[in-house]
């Protein structure tokens, strides 16, 4: 491990929220300034879909249909952040995976040797069930590397806009 540079591999967690776009802008700025490698990850929450089929709210064909919808959403978001990164001359690798969201993210952090996980602002815990089921909250708590939660959307946007676009 190269200890000269504190941040060498950044993982950006994309969940399709407005907050994750601010996180993407911040992560791109960080990658540009530090020279760290940047990866973007979106996880299709298939465990939740299976939960709904088990509860008989979904039928199997519906579960598959929603899985496709969620995967398309994920691809759209990953393409969007790729464009943002490239517009600033930052290389980004993206990956879309399926599974239990917090488990997949935590595993990728380990597998890819990530030293900083960047994610959008956490939603306020509005209910008892939120506390147990909010994936971002679970990722934040379970991640084995340092986590940067990007809070100030306006500042992220300003930093991103101020970044020069050349490689």
């Amino acid at each position: 491990m190269n200890t000269k540079e504190p941040i060498q591999k950044i993982l950006l967690y994309i969940d399709g929220s407005e907050e994750c776009i601010a996180a993407a802008q911040y992560a791109i700025v960080l990658a540009k300034k530090t020279g760290a490698a940047l990866k973007g990850l979106y996880v299709v929450n298939v465990s939740l879909l299976k939960e709904l089929t088990k509860a008989k709210i979904f039928v199997k064909i519906e579960e598959m249909d929603y899985e496709q919808d969620l995967a398309q959403d994920g691809k759209r978001y990953l393409n969007y952040i790729s464009e943002l990164a490239r517009s600033k001359g930052v290389e980004i690798e993206t990956e879309l995976v399926k599974g239990v969201v917090n488990k997949e993210v935590v595993e990728r952090v380990q597998e890819w040797g990530i030293d900083l996980l960047v994610m959008g602002e956490l939603n306020p815990i509005q209910s008892r069930t939120d506390a147990y089921h909010d994936e971002a909250e679970l990722i934040f708590r379970k991640s084995k590397c340092s986590v940067l939660v990007v809070k100030d959307q306006d500042r992220s946007e300003k930093l991103f806009n101020a970044l020069e676009g050349n490689l």
Partner: protein, 150 residues
């Protein structure tokens, strides 16, 4: 994802008047229309009935979750109906349905739609919650019961 944030007193009825499956769905749709977020009633109705054709959303323990994706909904749109007597909704356990969670979602909100349906599944898994909701005295009371459970 909070159900109480998607419901209001005007989208809750504690006295469903229709006693047939299609009639109940229409009654719930009429409540959902009050949000002003559904642009085409016929298309929305067709989406829900088409979904019911695949398999009834009448679950066990008196709960039904009629739902559909529809381009006629401008955002997640929800209604809640309660029937004290119970309605034959072709439920999974063959018993009458008493609680009806009705949800319309635009295709662009698949993620949030899934979160709301999961929240309904979690809450209705608690028989005390279902019993309380069946005994709600007013739409406001029903909203409080949901808020307290969330």
């Amino acid at each position: 994802m909070r159900l109480s944030g998607l419901l209001s007193e005007e989208t809750i009825t504690l006295n469903l008047t229709r006693s047939d499956k299609k009639g109940v769905i229409e009654e719930l749709l009429n409540l959902a229309m009050k949000t002003g977020k559904v642009s085409d009633r016929s298309a929305a109705l067709k989406s829900v009935l088409d979904r019911e054709e695949l398999m009834s959303t009448g679950l066990e323990k008196g709960v039904a979750v009629p739902h559909a994706k529809t381009s006629t909904a401008d955002g997640l749109t929800m209604a809640l109906g309660v029937s004290k007597e119970g309605i034959d909704f072709n439920s999974a356990d063959g018993k009458p349905s008493h609680l009806f969670f009705f949800l319309l979602a635009p295709e662009s909100e698949a993620g949030r739609n899934v979160q709301v349906l999961a929240q309904i599944a979690r809450l209705t898994n608690d028989s005390r919650f279902c019993d309380s909701l069946r005994q709600a005295r007013s739409p406001e009371d029903a909203l409080d019961i949901i808020r307290n459970a969330e």
